[in-house]
Amino acid sequence: MALLQIKEPIPNQQNQVDNDLVVGIDLGTTNSLIGYFNNAELKIFSDEDGQNMIASRVVYDNSGNLIGVGSKPSGKYEISSIKRLMGKNFADLKNINLQNHDFHNLIIDNSSNKEAISLQIADKKISAIEISAEILKHLKKIAEYHLGQEVSKAVITVPAYFDDNAKTATKQSAKLAGFDVLRLINEPTAGALAFGLENKSIGTYLVYDLGGGTFDVSILKMQQGVFKVLGVSGDNDLGGDDFDKIILQKGYKNAKKIKEELSFNETSHGLLRQDFECLIEDKLDQTINITKNLLHDLDIEFSKIDGVILIGGSTRIPLIQKKLAEIFGKDKILTNLDPDRVVAIGACYQAYNLSRSRENLLLDVNPLSIGIEMMGGIVDKIIHRNSTIPFSKSKEFTTYADNQTAMKFHIVQGEREFARDCRSLAEFEVKNIPPLKAGLARVKVDFTLDADGLLIINSEEKYTGKKQEIIVRPSFGLDESKIKNILLESLKNSKIDMEQRLLAEAIVEARRDIEIISNDLTNPEINLEAKEREIIIQQLEKLKEFIEQNNNRDSIQSAHQELSRVSENLILQKVNKILNAKIAGQKVDDL
């Protein structure tokens, strides 16, 4: 492995396996990132093409088999933006415009039940949760390659405004991908954590996070060692994708590219920046209103905000920065962050925090109120939004008819007055209530939000003391038995998967060296005899051929070893060159 060490050291290759290693993942609508912080260095890992922003794009062939993940693979079914379907069921879709998504025509109409949305991919029915799991599996492989060991623990970021169903769906995806999720953290919180830790900031900060598919705004108070979220708000169906669509609708192609170029140029492909800004201004004003309303709800004056942290590629749009500057002042807009990577960086810090240091505490809130449907469909809010989690509240309910022996509860999440306008989380029944006069029998219901913000419900019938725990999980997600099946299925395939993985790794490693050696051969400073050069080139071609055939790990590896052997002289020369370059200019005493 001498070759690899010249280009990029692969850490931990020979070291012991670290079971407590926890990676940070930003599972985005458009791009996803994975990285790791080891207290000395924070690394966002790149794929074999050197990209560390991995397209959240899953490709299947015409019989519904996975081809790959990322921007490169192509096939009959190319699924992007699957995050927009997480935690949703068919009935939810009527409020969302998905016309322009590739998966729009693949969605299976399962309105008859409340199952998670699935896509019809060839003759297979594949759920959004499973598709998202493919992205996570891909990220996992990338991290494992760089860390040189198995990775099974992660902190994953989710939009702050994700509801319970969407968070649960994300956790299920992670489980399918083989991750134990230590914590789901909110994307804007992760961004603020990264900013706060790197700048040692203290004060009240607003995070404006406009991602590919979601908008989040969050206000945090940062102190030494504690990051307390004061409140969050947002819109789960508003993001940079929408701007692309607006451009497409105006008859332009390459919408994404035009949008990106207009952040730095006055015109792109014949579209003027000012015209583009007119087209998207309504959408931007929505985000500005949500931002102002949050400050209003929390009783925080605009002038009390010490800085505005921008997250998401779309925040490069100058009009957004201008509108925020009008509210908070130009000097408060912090533009020295990388809006594409800051969330992943925060996830890595939090992963480190939870597994190693416990130095910095994140106190987060629940984004949406939890309530119960009362007579007439009105919602009685039990836990109000922006309560610091973990949180719990109890409520007692009494019977309204004589000899009533059961009570039915419908739990919803949202701010609207009527249950039909909120998200349905769970329905459950408390049975065997002793027949008593109306109002005498009571049922106490505890609503608890854990540190991930996921809901647990317990009920107790006071007369008999009978208790019941209600699992709020999957009125919309995958149920546990389906998850088990998928896991069993993947175990069956794991031997094949393992072999394929080893093959893939052998290919990646071989390709790296081919690239390095090919480059070195063109380096005029390296002197090789013609014959030696010829042998190396022959071996390079041979290795390339084996890679092309893509089926035999042994032949690839032995050809790879042979290449290393015949290139020994070349490598030696190069190492000496590098050493000489380093030594040059230094006094002998310094060495």
Partner: protein, 161 residues
Amino acid sequence: MKNYFEVFNLPINFDIDLSQLEKNYLQLQQQFHPDSSNINSIENSILINHAYKILSNDLHRAIHMLQISGIDIENDENHIKPTLSTLNEVLDLQEKIHQISELNEILSLKNQLKNDLKSLILNFCRSYEKNDLNLATQVLIKAKYFSKSLQDLKIKEKSSN
């Protein structure tokens, strides 16, 4: 009834040092939050969050002080009713909120209500100190109604923006 002041090692007093409260709160969470400790129990962290939420809000802190004294105005079953004059005042207020629509009217009523709430809570403190729990209770019930009206007004302000 649990005494939330005890959680933060503070005396039962309306005029607590809010920055001290916050400091104690964060210190406790650094100790008991499930992310800070290896003990996988969230009960303590929940209690600390709850206690902080109650004590950091003027009205809720006052209501809690009454609860500790054995009067729970949050529990409808105790049948603690407002006086007729309070009811009339609240009805008038609701009527007024319903009628106004101009933003400047909304804002001026909002400011007036905020001031009213402040003086009601001051009244509560005085009655509480004199141990006149009856008067303290009546004042707080009125404050609770006013606070609800203030929320309605805020929603109205938002929709008129």
